[in-house]
Amino acid sequence: MRRFRFGVTARIIAVLVVLGVAVFPLYWMFVTALSSNSDLFADQPRLTPDLGQFGVFVDALAEGKAAGWLLNSLIIAVGTMVVSVGLGIPLGYALSRFSFWGKAVVTVVLLFTQMLPEALMVVPLFALFRRFELLDSLTGLVLVNSAFVLPIVALILKGAIDGIPKELEEAARADGARPFTTLTRINVPLIAPSIAATAVIAFFHAWNEYVFAVTFIFNPDLQPASVGIANFIGELGTPIQTVMAVAFLFTLPAVAFYLLVQKYVVSGMTAGAVKG
């Protein structure tokens, strides 16, 4: 009995330690943003946020370029989400419901692309972008980010469509519906949760993307937040509170949306990787 109770306490402590490790860095980002200079450089740092400093978030958005960065990130992310899900739904449908010549090749290519590092592809893509005048344009980033997130989006949606009984579609087809109508009217509503999950994945893939953005964008007005924030690292001019405030505003939506759909994201990512 004693041993049992000790086990429960140990488990609670272990869980709390794990949660502390998981959450502390982002908590610390928040605390740093809300620190006064004297707290920041004191011998004993203040471990709780000073809510009186809340204006730092307003100032970060109002004064610096942060609002513009976040807006650029938003445009790139929405564009990537629309393009990759828009292309991923028909691709996933084709892979799930049809057997056709070259299907195995398509599947292998989709899996293969997931091991290609962005840093490797950046050189030939730079040449391509220069030829098509896509350098210094948000459209260019939307296109390339869509291409990179498309395979995982398509594989997740294929898995979701695999899970829908074929009979539903066959009934619709018997009524004379064309394949495209069947897809939009029957399948799309049924896989709505998976579509939402892939939309979140695609959105934040583009929101977080750094390598292409830093290489293809020269105009500071077109910089997304990932590049703006990365430029803070090792730079000393901006107060650390402002830096952390911007980074926190950049991180918060990513964390919040992932928590909302994490169940679908996790099952989708593993399913996409296993079955292909």
């Binding site: 869980v15 610390w28 049809f98 057997s99 750094y210 830096v243 952390m244 980074a247 991180t251 996790v266």
Partner: protein
């Protein structure tokens, strides 16, 4: 290439719909219409650039004059494999990847086992654990750099307080401690993913089998090996594959924390290829380094498939 009807739906076109397509699945071109736009995207932005990289790896090409490349055959590969610095890069890559795989899966398994028991607030705990994985890599690199700051970083203050402080405190400037710090940051970001995936695998462990094993007098460890491990083994294999591929291609976290330094102590293949291309401006060698990484990934993928097949057949336990 039409799918055989299974529901006994009428094969003849119903009256009044005579102008519709006769075949219920459309023509044999229908699947190609569905996948053509996506295929075009992947062709233009992935396949063609990759082939260009393959070509570049056999040439001498400078970043400043990229249209003039000179075919040099295997020179780039001969040079990098003869370079002791590249051997170090390979070694660091192997250390980085293996540590990520082992520790991320190990930590993930411990956390999954902790969260697998029912307790009040488990849902909240499970959600909070996923926070690191959801955080953008850029933000993680930034906060890690700040926490490891030599003068004011909370990590150094803590280490000093318990008497383990690094002399001078500059963890990321120390060839000895930079790699462990980068690894710790990487694993902090990875372990939520492994634990959530393993947690869902643990849900399919039959509880009565666990109980039966306990009743038969098997200890905890024996029960774990006989029951739980057998169920989650395929998931662990899959995670090992994913972690390997992700770690081989990870760039921004390492680049933003250390740029591969100090003195190359955190330089993995991808970091090396990026600095070859943009610092040394040698696109040919950069492409060759990239190809080494691609080939390693391919070997890992094919090897894991072979192992998985052998396990299915029962040759390997």
């Amino acid at each position: 290439m039409t799918v055989v009807e299974q529901t006994g739906a009428p094969k003849t076109t119903p009256p009044g719909r005579a102008r519709r397509r006769p075949s219920p699945l459309g023509s044999k071109w229908t699947p190609y219409l569905f996948l053509a736009p996506a295929a075009l995207f992947i062709l233009v932005f992935q396949a063609v650039p990759l082939l260009q990289e393959v070509y570049l790896s056999f040439t001498r090409t400078r970043l400043l004059n990229p249209t003039r490349s000179e075919w040099v055959g295997l020179d780039n590969f001969n040079r990098i494999f003869g370079d002791p610095e590249f051997h170090r890069t390979l070694l660091i890559t192997v250390i980085y990847v293996i540590t990520c795989v082992v520790v991320a899966i190990g930590a993930g398994l411990v956390v999954a086992l902790l969260l697998n028991k029912k307790f009040r607030g488990r849902g909240v705990a499970r959600a909070l654990v996923t926070v690191p994985w959801a955080a953008p890599g850029i933000a993680v690199a930034l906060i890690a750099t700040w926490m490891l700051n030599a003068q004011y970083g909370i990590v150094n203050r803590f280490l000093d307080a318990v008497g383990l402080g690094v002399p001078g405190g500059a963890i990321l400037d120390s060839p000895r401690y930079a790699l462990p710090a980068v690894l710790a940051t990487t694993i902090w970001q990875l372990f939520p993913f492994t634990s959530v995936v393993l947690l869902s695998a643990l849900q399919s462990v039959p509880q009565d089998l666990n109980e039966a094993a306990t009743v038969d007098g098997a200890g905890r460890w024996a029960t774990f090996r006989a029951v739980t491990w057998q169920v989650i083994k395929p998931t662990v294999g899959l995670l090992a594959l994913l972690m390997t591929i992700w770690s081989l291609r990870r760039f921004e976290l390492i680049w933003l924390m250390t740029k591969g330094g100090p003195v190359g102590s955190t330089e993995t293949l991808v970091i090396d290829l990026y600095s070859q291309a943009f610092d040394s401006k040698e696109l040919g060698s950069a492409a060759a380094i990239g190809m080494v990484g691609v080939v390693i990934s391919l070997i890992v993928i094919i090897g894991s498939r072979l192992v998985a097949r052998a396990v299915e057949k029962g040759d390997v336990r």
